[in-house]
């Protein structure tokens, strides 16, 4: 019979922010907290005028997004990252048949915000319809 543990929060005993879980190969362990995506968002940058609450389809640990120019947005992080060395990745897309590649570039970041810029064909800055960003690293 499988067992199931029902609990609302998990903390480490030795260190509250560190819990090890056994890997799929049944041998090595990996750190649960470090493996979790600390913030993510999907939003539509073409909303005009840009309103964060309307543009965001879904998100986690993201307070709001501002419009800082063509294709340029600042993502505000609700619970700050521990340092600016965190790893962010993303993708951009468009729900039309106009052709051309869309991409997303990462600009200046702080522990509380990540600045991004959308492009079309890797050259022209553009507000893209589908913008997705993931942030991995340590929380403050």
């Amino acid at each position: 019979m499988t067992s199931e543990l029902l609990v609302d929060a998990i903390k480490g005993v030795t260190a509250a922010g560190s819990v090890a879980v056994t890997g799929e190969g049944n041998s090595t362990t990996t750190n649960l907290q470090q493996g979790l995506c600390k913030a993510w968002v999907e939003f539509d940058a073409t909303i005009t005028p840009f309103v964060s609450a309307t543009a965001v389809g879904d998100s986690f640990n993201i307070t709001s997004i501002n419009d800082a120019g063509s294709g340029i947005h600042d993502l505000s992080i609700t619970n700050n990252m521990n340092n600016t060395g965190y790893a962010a990745s993303g993708a951009a897309g468009e729900n039309d048949d106009a052709g051309g590649n869309r991409s997303l570039g990462l600009r200046a970041k702080s522990t509380s915000a990540q600045n991004i810029r959308g492009f079309r064909d890797g050259v022209s800055a553009q507000d893209n319809q589908e913008m997705c960003v993931h942030i991995m690293g340590d929380l403050a």
């Binding site: 903390k11 056994t22 570039g105």
Partner: protein, 124 residues
């Protein structure tokens, strides 16, 4: 009333296998690094051992604990500046190493200043 479980390690009932996270899965590794450094090394990382610079825009990133196979998923990000935007291409990979190539938006291999990678899949 909310409940809190205080524990250092979580394994399955047998004590040797992984437990399932309801409707979610954790990343098994991530890193970001400055590809323009003379000896690139991770600014921050998880389950990452080293970076081998294989030439302009070419980097081999090793895992501390290997993946179960070479079919793991990944995502990547790069900075952009007045010089251009990164795009990352991925060469042959193995369970212990992920190889990536960075480009500028002119399509040329480039040692870009910010490269971020994250990995999803099963550990060995």
């Amino acid at each position: 009333m909310s409940s809190v479980l205080n524990v250092d390690t979580i394994a399955d009932k047998a004590g040797t296998g992984p437990v399932g996270l309801t409707k979610q899965s954790a990343n098994k590794g991530f890193l970001n690094f400055d590809g323009s450094a003379s000896t690139p090394s991770a600014t921050d990382s998880f389950n990452h051992s080293s970076i081998v610079d294989g030439g302009t825009g070419i980097f081999a990133c090793g895992f501390t604990n290997n993946m179960a196979n070479a079919n793991f998923g990944h995502t990547a990000g790069g900075d952009h500046s007045a010089a251009g935007i990164n795009t990352n291409k991925f060469d042959a990979r193995s369970a212990d190493t992920f190889n990536c190539r960075a480009y500028n938006y002119a399509g040329n291999p480039s040692d870009n200043g910010y490269i971020a990678l994250a990995f999803q899949g099963d550990l060995a």
